[in-house]
Assembly symmetry: C2
Homo-oligomer: 435 residues x 2
């Protein structure tokens, strides 16, 4: 009975789409995961592995040998195969490649030769090409002899005898033109071949701006290498977006909901340790003003408000600037305008909330001195937040540091230090006047 029920479960599971099985695996806590993976049929393993986050894929592949890996991935597209292999240890890559037939191996190696974040690294090497001098009628007859075309074939690629890329023949144009015309007369030459070394994020923008479904990839001499398809572009857009969200919290893109406790703890420890050091920097600043604090302990109640407000205002500017940089909207010509706009926004909010906190201190603590000190510190810190929010990510970009990852930590360090220093320095300077 047990095995009968198991049979049913196995059948139900494998009737799902591989992406759905992957979702299920990622949602399953340890223990259940291994059980579900056991139930996935071999013919689905490759598709499921491709859909998993890198972390999870690793933990499953670790248990497989080269033969099992080869079996799992043998029906994948070449770009997916390459993507998959790229994340394995070199030894396993070599063993798996050795197990492939010559054509497969050459095609996968063509993709593996490019960085995985370029057009070459995400291209599929299976293309349907035609010559410019044949008639559409010949194309129709040729296609009718094919059993199947690669997925996302929305156009045929027109090449010369030497495989030079000439243009594309969209299937819709093929279908709506007279069959006695030549391919050369109908093809579109508007779309230039994508250079294999174009960064993947630029490829994604090209697809978005020009509403493409697939586009040819060429080498430096214009020779056709393969094509990029929209499904890979969607993955890139999704990953790029996730990267921002995860990085800003100091998480790894591929961090998985049920990653092992030890590896999760280790990764997060790095971020927490970094934050501890920056927090100790702020503590050092405060400790320099021990005398001021002893004279007026009530300062300790309210002083934390200032770095907190600076952090929030700075993060807003930072987020806007990081997005502007990612979308290519921000360059040398308009940084200054943005800076003055952000400064003005901070000044207005600084005065507004500075006044608010002044009244809070005055009414509730009956202490106009603390109110004045903390109100002015608010304006100073929000201005510091605007300056760092605009310029930190721009400087980091120039130094090749990812602003989405490091921007937040550095920014809050600035607003913490400036915030505490402003409150306590102003207090040392001004409070004696109120006594």
């Amino acid at each position: 009975i047990e095995s009968g029920a198991l049979f049913q479960v196995r059948r139900a599971l494998n009737a799902l789409h591989p992406a759905e099985i992957a979702d299920m695996l990622e949602a399953a806590p340890h223990g259940q995961r291994e059980l579900i993976w056991e139930l996935v049929e071999q013919e689905n393993e490759g598709e499921v592995l491709i859909e998993l986050s890198e972390d999870m894929r690793h933990s499953l592949v670790e248990e497989m040998d080269a033969g099992e890996i080869l079996n799992a991935i043998k029906d994948l597209d070449y770009d997916d195969m390459a993507d998959f292999l790229q994340s394995l240890p070199d030894e396993i890559i070599q063993q798996t490649l050795d197990g492939m037939d010559r054509q497969d191996r050459e095609r996968v190696e063509a993709v593996l030769a490019y960085d995985e974040n370029t057009a070459g690294g995400i291209m599929d090497t299976e293309t349907v090409t035609v010559r410019a001098d044949v008639t559409l009628d010949v194309v129709f007859r040729y296609l009718r002899h094919q059993h199947e075309l690669p997925t996302h074939t929305d156009n045929l690629i027109v090449v010369s005898r030497y495989d030079q890329y000439l243009g594309i023949l969209p299937l819709v144009d093929l279908l709506t033109s007279q069959p006695d015309l030549t391919v050369g007369a109908v093809m579109s030459t508007d779309l230039p071949g994508i250079p294999a070394d174009m960064p993947a994020r630029n490829v994604a923008r090209l697809f978005e701006d020009h509403n493409l479904v697939s586009a040819p990839v060429v080498d430096g001499s214009g020779k056709l290498l393969g094509r990029v398809t929209i499904d890979d572009v969607v993955d890139i857009i999704r990953e790029e977006a996730e990267h921002s969200v995860m990085s800003m919290a100091g998480l790894d893109d591929e961090e998985d909901l049920f990653a092992p406790i030890i590896s999760s703890s280790r990764r997060r420890a790095i971020w927490l340790g970094t934050n501890l050091i920056t927090a100790l920097l702020a503590a050092m600043v405060i400790s320099r003003f021990e005398g001021t604090l002893e004279a007026k302990v009530a300062l300790a109640f309210l002083m934390g408000v200032i770095p907190s407000m600076g952090g929030v205002a700075g993060t807003q500017t930072l987020t806007l600037v990081i997005r502007g940089l990612a979308l290519g909207q921000l360059g040398q010509s308009n940084t200054r305008s943005l800076f003055f706009k952000e400064l003005a926004v901070s000044l207005i909010n600084g005065i507004l909330w500075g006044a608010a906190i002044f009244f809070v201190a005055w009414f509730f603590m009956q202490d106009a001195g603390i109110g004045v000190v903390i109100g002015i510190a608010m304006v100073i810190n929000l201005l510091a937040a605007a300056v760092s929010g605009v310029y930190l990510p721009i400087i980091m970009r120039k130094l090749n540091i990812d602003p989405a990852l490091a921007g937040g930590v550095v920014l809050t360090t600035v607003t913490d230090v400036v915030g505490f220093a402003a409150v306590l320095w102003l207090a040392t300077l001004l409070l004696p006047l109120f006594q």
Copy 2:
């Protein structure tokens, strides 16, 4: 000479892709914007407007009357038209609709009838349909008489005489099959019609999971209404991702790099005001321990470290959970497992960094008492961070509050209050033992 140069600029500008003109407009500060917009030729205005962020689109459309709007949008796809109209005042929508011919108006109204965040709201009503009982040869002849097919036509939609959706005929299958077969024999029935009220984010997941380029949309009775295409899905994925990043910083999705200073200040003031209130809550907690602080001012140096660490740890858990919820990976069955995993991660990091801060206090301040207090508070606050990071977004979801928007504020309020309270309460309790 002036007008000759202007002519050159205008020509260069209008030779760009509408999406590139839109990028240029968004990157331009006020003043320059209006100038560039003046130079955009009328036939490009519609495409450019569609590519702009909502904020900017509004400010440009405000200056146009219904006639100009109609002229600008008359060549857009129906879904883009509807999307565009949806964001205008009712009066202008009616005037614009009145200016359209009957077919256009009916098609736009069909899309306008659905919420813009559903399949119906993003569908295009232009479809190419065929009957199941005709042969492929007839289909070929029919297509040859069309001048053009709608963009992203990767399949023809097979419908009954009463417009009931039956299946799709992919162009690649049409091309690779024998022409004497019927449509019914070749069509694929694997893809069910998408209900018009399916939320857009589910449509996006469907497209991603099944690698679709276009898919038919049907009403409750299975009648074909239109089709969703991949370009709209890509927009949704991009918007969804931006929403998380922008919301977590308390920014509006459509916030524009060069929004007017006054409206920017007002929007951000709301977020800063909210933060001020939560910061004052923490201040109130601290003020309850005035006596403890007076007895040991050095506590004020280090106590800020604890809420800061809690905020960072909590944000990490929160981000992970928000993503898990958005991807549908987190449900009732696995929340408990996730909770215990996050608790364990927090415990490990709490002990690690609690010990670190104990040594800092001991070595640098020669104060083992403060070290013990602050070390234990670290463990307590990181545990509180794990609890709130896991359960706050889940509770907010249930209350229909967007956790990406409100999660961060509520979480840091919890970690601030718990953090300060833990330090000061433990100090009141334990410090007398060290004297």
